[in-house]
């Protein structure tokens, strides 16, 4: 495999061909935030939090799926990048309904951590009707609180690619999109028995171990 040379935030980086910008940046400890990305899963590129500026490009590029190409000049913290990333996170926050402040799962929420980190000011955006779904606790292994879901689809990927179980699908479209089980049914033991791997990949606590029966919180 040949090497590619890129410049990230002013630093020369030698990456392997086929590496993404995200991977190349990590070689020199430049951290680019992500929500929908996991090194274990096929990239989806849906959250748009990892966007970076590539010199000469019309739009920003997702670092988690764009291959580093020889000669690329990349900015991971330019004003354009930070403004856009902040607004994207704000939009995700605005799409929720729920008690993020008092909820016990809040400390698990990567979105909230990211929002705090990006220091957005007063909320600028509202949704006509933020998402609200009843909490699903029928399954002893996975508790679903879909109001917290940011549609990153990592649960779908983990279930499909790692557990090889195919429990989840994505349904509806646009703002109404939702990660569903079967015909948008509650998650029961009929379809999902025990692995709970999706919980490890959920960035917001939409999926969690049930407090009573799931053991250690």
């Amino acid at each position: 495999m040949s090497d590619v040379k890129v410049r990230i935030d002013g630093r020369e980086v030698t990456a392997h061909e086929g590496m993404t910008i995200l991977e190349a940046a990590r070689l020199v400890d430049i951290e680019i935030p992500t929500l929908c990305h996991s090194p274990d899963l096929i990239p989806s590129g849906n959250c748009r939090v990892c966007v970076v500026e590539i010199e000469g490009a019309r739009t920003l590029a997702g670092a988690c799926h764009t291959p580093a190409a020889d000669g690329m000049v990349i900015q991971t913290r330019s004003p354009k990048v930070l403004t856009s990333r902040r607004a994207t996170v704000e939009l995700l926050m605005a799409g929720h309904t729920g008690e993020c402040v008092t909820d016990v799962h809040t400390d698990q929420c990567d979105l909230r951590k990211l929002a705090d980190h990006l220091e957005g000011g007063a909320p600028r955006f509202l949704m006509r009707k933020p998402r609200w779904y009843p909490i699903e606790e029928a399954n002893p292994y996975v508790r679903r609180d879909m109001s917290k879901c940011i549609l990153c689809r990592k649960c779908i990927g983990a279930c499909q690619e790692i557990a090889k179980k195919n429990v989840y699908g994505i349904a509806y479209r646009g703002f109404a999109s939702k990660v569903v089980v079967d015909f948008d049914d509650p998650l029961t033991t009929e379809v999902c028995r025990d692995c709970g791997i999706c919980i490890d990949y959920c960035p917001t606590g939409a999926l969690s171990k049930p407090a009573k029966r799931g053991g250690v919180q």
Binding site: N46, C47, R48, V49, K80, F125, L126, R128, F175
Partner: protein, 409 residues
């Protein structure tokens, strides 16, 4: 400059159900020429030299696209004709499919030969199901004539989703999935349908191929402007006396199309390019229609002085929010947040901060969305803000006044 009928030359003249009528009007001569006098590389070079650019909206150089797919070594390559004309105000592809399907089939045959595709799909929107019988008939007759010996053409019908006109979503739809945008790279000419090299061309782009091959790229280059060669079909609707499909040399002034040909009067603004198209106010009505200025898919909607800008913006954003595939955050959440603001503005509940919020949101959607829908969704909003800012500000002032009457300031 009057209309220049190259693409429309057969429309309404010949019987679209009869291949013999098409053949009698130079039909399949370009195909014969390509097959017998030119190598695939020469066909690609000819299209490249002609300067033909995509007619679906994005305007990517057609020859370059073909060249990229041609040079890929693969056991399988695909050609897709994008007949998912979902752009609001667009019906020029419908017109071609209805009145001259053979020109499209000939264009497909030449394109497949040039890039080395053995299989072609025509992705036809569900709303145009009534055109599929005529199209199938044209394919069958062409095959019987012996012009499709090495190519298998399938008509693949959509099921009601504007986003499937976006090329990556279109491919997902053919693969039997939800029509969602894919990230790029990889680009379709290297990894498209099922990961194989794929060319996706709009109906009108493919209909341009036979005349270019037949008359030569130099002939084509003489029509149009520096960056915009050839003619373009425009579908004109809205406040005009004669809505319909018109063909003009690229670079023709907008005024000629909407006033001289379509008979518009008392114009307030014109949207060029469909739901995500740019806005041209009446004061700029002589703007040339070209890739350098404003063009898109050639959908042209005329609004007269009686129309409200914010009603238009609301309906447009509602359309985009309903048709967003929902995969990426800026488009899925952004169109919804935009609806919240514009909805309030139209119902008289605007706030001072709204314009700033619209501008901030637009910027992010444009820069970070995964595909053209989200990237272009804010164009009509930003353009109307640019030319009709007063309409927004007045609404906000009225809102503030109304609130003060209600004692809710």
């Amino acid at each position: 400059m009057p209309e220049k009928r190259i693409l429309l030359k057969n429309c309404g003249i010949i019987d679209p159900r009869d291949i013999n009528a098409y053949v009698a009007h130079d039909g399949f001569k370009a195909w014969e020429k390509a097959r017998h006098a030119l190598t695939p590389d020469e066909v690609v070079a000819e299209i490249d030299t002609s300067g033909l650019r995509g007619r679906g909206g994005a305007g990517f150089p057609c020859g370059l696209k073909w060249k990229l797919a041609r040079q890929e070594a693969a056991d399988e390559k695909f050609l897709i004709c994008n007949a998912d004309e979902g752009e609001v105000g667009a019906f020029k592809d419908r017109h071609l499919l209805q009145h001259d399907p053979f020109s499209l089939i000939e264009g497909i045959a030449i394109a497949a030969y040039a890039i080395g595709a053995q299989k072609a799909y025509i992705y036809l929107r569900a709303e145009y199901h009534y055109l599929s019988a005529g199209l199938k008939n044209a394919i069958d007759q062409t095959r019987q004539k012996g012009c499709l010996e090495e190519l298998n053409i399938t008509i693949q019908e959509g099921a009601g989703a504007y986003i499937c006109g976006e090329e990556s979503a279109l491919m997902d739809s053919i693969e039997g999935k939800r029509g969602e945008a894919r990230f790029r790279p990889p680009f379709p000419p290297s990894q498209g349908l099922w990961g194989k090299p794929t060319i996706i061309n709009n109906v009108e782009t493919l209909a341009n191929i036979p005349p270019i091959i037949l008359n030569g790229s130099q002939w084509f280059r003489e029509i149009g402007t520096a960056q915009s060669k050839g003619t373009k079909l425009f579908s004109v609707s809205g406040d005009v006396a004669k809505p319909g499909v018109y063909e003009l040399a690229l670079g023709s002034p907008l005024k000629e199309l909407v006033v001289d040909l379509a008979g518009a009067q008392d114009i307030k603004m014109v949207q060029v390019g469909g739901a995500t198209g740019g806005i041209i106010p009446a004061s700029m009505i002589t703007t040339p229609l070209a890739y350098e200025t404003v063009l898109g898919s050639g959908a042209v909607t005329v609004f007269d002085a009686s129309r409200e800008v914010l009603d238009f913006v609301y309906r447009t954003m509602e359309f985009l929010a309903e048709e967003s595939c929902g995969k990426c955050t800026p488009c899925r959440e952004g169109t919804e947040a935009m609806m919240e603001i514009i909805g309030r503005l139209t119902t008289g509940d605007g706030k001072q901060e709204d314009i700033q919020a619209i501008e901030d949101l637009s910027q992010t959607m444009m820069l970070s969305s995964l595909c053209g829908l989200g990237q272009a969704a804010s164009i009509p909003v930003l353009d109307t803000l640019k030319y009709f800012r007063n309409d927004y500000e007045n609404r906000i002032r009225q809102s503030v006044f109304l609130r003060s009457l209600r004692g809710q300031l």
